[in-house]
């Protein structure tokens, strides 16, 4: 039968939800589910879980660009069919995982994966740089201030050695979001790349009528920078429109989300900010927000060299300086943010000083601080 546009409601099925996880589990998982005792990571990208009763599961984790083709997924299926009895999974950070129940199968699996060129890099476990959680960027979204897949590829190429090894003090979780909506977990990442606009929205008076509910657009602005106004469109007609007070605008883009006639994007205005020191897990320290340390780097496709350079610098300095188990944020707090900027050789700008709501809580209200190169003007 199939869909019949003339009878769209006939035979319609809705609200059946996803498949049950139960139908999707590899046999080794099904057999040992809930009985796991402990795990080991014998080498980067390989996890071995041991269960009560002797069950063992070997997992091989491979990197993925997330933006993958049907062919790529089918190739994964081929691998899973060959080695894993026809099952595989994806991780919460978009890596893929293949599971088998013996060391031999695991070795064969690994050999197979390695034979396929760069498509399935094995790694992403333990104290590593695992896959970058990211978003759509110029590949699909309407509000981005930068691309996603491109910069992610550039950064992962650059940090590849850390994906395939476990030599860092702790996990580095990198995320990228192409605009302030932050569809990646950018607000709580060890390193976060964030697309930012820097020009206030234009008002498209030819378009505003009809596509835009003016009161919603006006209400969308957290800073009250948008006011109703009369304007003239290119036909010379007077239209009900809005006016943006550029001095108040902080380029959040919320107005554009609500109103298509208020685009912000701009080749020179847009680019990337870098935030660091966030974390999610509750281990040792509570979850932390990422903090803005580089307010802007230009969009420089295809490889965003300014961005990869700063990220690499942070990773290298951290790798050398931090203690075992210390996440980037824990490290920065231990050494002090003044030292973070100094050690990572990141120019400090007033843009890193909060001037939004709750800002006072981030001011330094103690006379105890460290001298760094920043204080040379006072002490030298």
């Amino acid at each position: 039968m199939g869909y019949d546009p003339k009878n769209p409601m006939e035979g319609r099925i809705t609200d059946i939800g996803p498949h049950s996880y139960d139908d999707m589990l590899p046999p080794v998982i099904k057999a040992n589910r809930g009985k796991w005792l402990y795990h080991e990571i014998p080498e980067s990208g390989v996890l071995v879980h041991y269960a009560e009763g002797g069950g063992v599961c070997y997992t091989v984790r491979v990197g993925s660009p997330r933006l993958v083709s049907i062919e790529h997924v089918r190739e994964m299926c081929d691998i899973a069919d060959t080695h894993c009895e026809g099952y595989l999974r994806f991780t919460t950070r978009n890596n893929a995982e293949f599971m088998v129940d013996s060391k031999e199968k695991c070795d064969a699996l690994i050999a197979d994966l390695k034979s396929r060129g760069t498509k399935f890099p094995i790694g992403g476990t333990g104290a590593c740089v695992t896959n970058i959680v990211h978003t759509q960027g110029w590949v699909h979204c309407h509000t981005p201030a930068t691309d996603a897949s491109g910069p992610v590829k550039a950064v992962m190429d650059d940090l590849f050695e850390y994906f395939v090894s476990m030599k860092l003090p702790a996990q580095i979780r990198i995320a990228l979001a192409c605009c302030l909506n932050m569809c990646g977990a950018v607000h709580a990442s060890d390193i976060a790349l964030l697309g930012v606009h820097r020009k206030p929205p234009m008002v498209d008076n030819d378009r505003i009528t009809g596509v835009c509910e003016l009161p919603l657009a006006i209400a969308a602005c957290p800073l009250g920078a948008i006011k109703p106004a009369k304007a003239t469109n290119s036909q010379g007609e007077e239209v009900k429109s809005v006016k943006v007070n550029s001095e108040r605008c902080m380029f959040c883009g919320n107005c554009y989300t609500m109103c298509p006639a208020m685009p912000l994007a701009d080749p020179e205005g847009d680019g990337m900010a870098i935030l660091v020191g966030g974390k999610v897990s509750n281990a040792k320290s509570a979850p932390k927000f990422s903090k803005l340390v580089v307010p802007f780097l230009p969009n420089n496709p295809p490889r965003w060299p300014e961005v990869t350079e700063v990220v690499r610098r942070i990773v290298h300095v951290y790798a050398k300086d931090a203690k075992k188990y210390e996440r980037i944020g824990e490290w920065a707090e231990r050494i002090g943010w003044e030292k973070f900027f100094e050690k990572c050789d990141i120019p400090f700008t007033e843009k890193s000083i909060d001037d939004y709501r709750l800002a006072y809580d981030t001011w330094k209200t103690t006379a105890a601080f460290k001298y760094t190169s920043h204080t040379d003007a006072y002490t030298k």
């Binding site: 005792l37 990571i41 691309d147």
Partner: protein, 426 residues
Amino acid sequence: MAKHDTPMLDELEKGPWPSFVTDLKRQAETHPECWDILGQLELSYEDKITHWKHGGIVGVFGYGGGIVGRYSDVPGRFPGVEHFHTIRVAQPSGMYYSTENLRALMDLWDKYGSGMTNMHGSTGDMILLGTRTENLEPLFWDLTHDLKQDLGGSGSNLRTPSCCLGESRCEWSCYDTQDICYALTMHYQDEIHRPAFPYKFKFKFSGCANDCVAAIARSDFAVIGTWKDDIQIDQAAVKEYVAGNYSVNGGSHKDGDWGPFSLKKEVIDLCPTQCMWMEGEELKIDNSECNRCMHCINVMPRALRPGKEKGATICMGAKAPILDGAQFATMIIPFIEVSKENEYENIIDVIERIWDWWMEVGKNRERVGETMQRVGLPTFLSIMEVEPIPQHIREPRSNPYVFWKEEEVPGGFERDIVAFRKRHAA
């Protein structure tokens, strides 16, 4: 053969990380619209700007979510992406797939779509990336009839719930994350598909405080596994760790040059509550001081395990920064049983208590975390019928601005100024 020159994108074929460009080109062989994806993206790389128009309201009959509409602003040059809507297909909990299902999905997408996907979207859905409006209903028909599966959420509704892999492959999971994720996804199909909320609402389920699905950062309703009794210690295994026979942190730091394991430095000293110590060769934990952060267990998975009386902590209100800054979820319910047996009724109760309230008082596009901030935590707790406890806060208030209610103050608020002035002349 390449339909467009993509010199910049071609640069992204270099390097060790798998290249989405290479992959797109490969797919373009059978799905020529992929050339237009590449072409338009190359144009964006030149222009440093997106070439997608704003929004586009498309969908399938009867659903308010699951599809994100998208149109090219250069359809003339790139007709293959003129319409480029994405389909959010609800993933199986834990993102395990049979190749049978995955292949069927790929075949479906081969038939109706661009050939490109995201495995997965940030919320957890499978994202089928780019199709034309006229394909939506047929695709949905086949998806539901042939593949027997459904779309996820988008819009002001319950978003597709997601979870860490939980007890399927993790020794630490304190409840069955996949099962509750699946059960609630099924229970709330209507809320997922038909927007009736002030704004989006997300559930995420992590089996322990490591929070591998980032629930506390990214969900309005974060269920995080924990236990209420004591950490299980295997003292023999402790000795093996000390002797260097077991790999520390499962081996997570294997490639680093960290020297031999020090139980003191790596576990005892890093315990945030300082509640561990050695008594001879025995590791001791004062569990009444432990905050169940997971660190010691992470480092010595063979010696330490979560307690036996398991359940979860519920935290509420996480969200991204728009508008008032990002929020982590706030701890609201310290411990709750999570059990298939009652079909998660107790958790459903909690969920519906928030929803009933938020649907009434939440403003348009106000995340529940923002509503919580607007009314204040004490009010929110009383709405949730949760007794305020010090665990709800990091620290007590430092300002003295307490709102007393009239009924709390003897004599109430009304006073007679004339009587007052008789005793206290102005």
